[in-house]
Symmetry: C2
Subunit: 196 residues, 2 copies
Amino acid sequence: MNFLEERIVKDGVVKPGNVLKVESFLNHQMDIALMDQIGDEFKHRFADKPINKILTIEASGIGIACSVARAFNAPMVFAKKSKSINIDGEMYVAEVESFTHKNTNQVIVSKKFLSPNDHVLIVDDFLANGCALNGLIAIVEAAGATVEGLGIVIEKGFQDGGKNLRAKGYHLESLAIVESMNAETGDIQFRVQENA
Amino acid sequence: MNFLEERIVKDGVVKPGNVLKVESFLNHQMDIALMDQIGDEFKHRFADKPINKILTIEASGIGIACSVARAFNAPMVFAKKSKSINIDGEMYVAEVESFTHKNTNQVIVSKKFLSPNDHVLIVDDFLANGCALNGLIAIVEAAGATVEGLGIVIEKGFQDGGKNLRAKGYHLESLAIVESMNAETGDIQFRVQENA
């Protein structure tokens, strides 16, 4: 197991319905030393890419993306969720369904902060069905920028998001891929990865 | 002028209605080196306090709070905004009005992450009327924890939030206090502060 898988086993809690709670260190309370380890690991895994910008989506991606941006010495941009229909033309917009909240958000990024010169690493805390990630990819591509990679902290390998994105040819790195979880025993099975 | 005031003058944009746009470096695109300078400055200003936890509110406070938490070598907790009325008793809750979005949010923090042993520095990007900050203070005090200080990046000195919090005796440090702005000329007047 790598450092993240070890931490998930130690402090993650499996809930019924394939829910993995990591709120004690990742997405409610945040362990900053762990964030910096995550940032360094993505820097290592995407070392050959000319990445000059980190993109994520509010809210729980922000802390992670800050540490990744520090590792790459690059600015970070976070997409905002908006319910408003009055977008003034200065924004890239994507529709993103949320299964957690059972609604659809507009996700927006100001056109000022993405351009055809940008080589973007998109990062987020979780990947399940891939709705949020696909929205961010659509925004980067609408800007004429390049998606250099996708960096995910925890992928739910039993949902289709990761499989579909890899099939499309994106360079997706997930630091931990959960294959299965058992809420009764608390057991978590990770996919064995070469570079993990 | 301190480093932040200089950056606001260089890259901030004044809009009609006393709106200061700092989205190129603070709350949409984020300059990580600047975040770390902000973290170090709060560490300096609250050096005599036994701070062991940083608290902020999603979304734009998170990146700042990560750098502050790094400077203090402490965990960071971000309060979540929630519209749901079904809070399960495991959460501290405060009602926070948003003037920007013209609505009221419930702001929640899990009881697991605040206890009477905690000495908390609350940080946020903006302070205007103080609604968000008062909600976070209420949550810390409901937990029996101690509010050691309030660290704000930009205070709107012409609104009452800062004045009221100082009158209540809280140790509030704002790295830049805007006294007035002129959308026609772009001019920004800062309050002169001893330690700025």
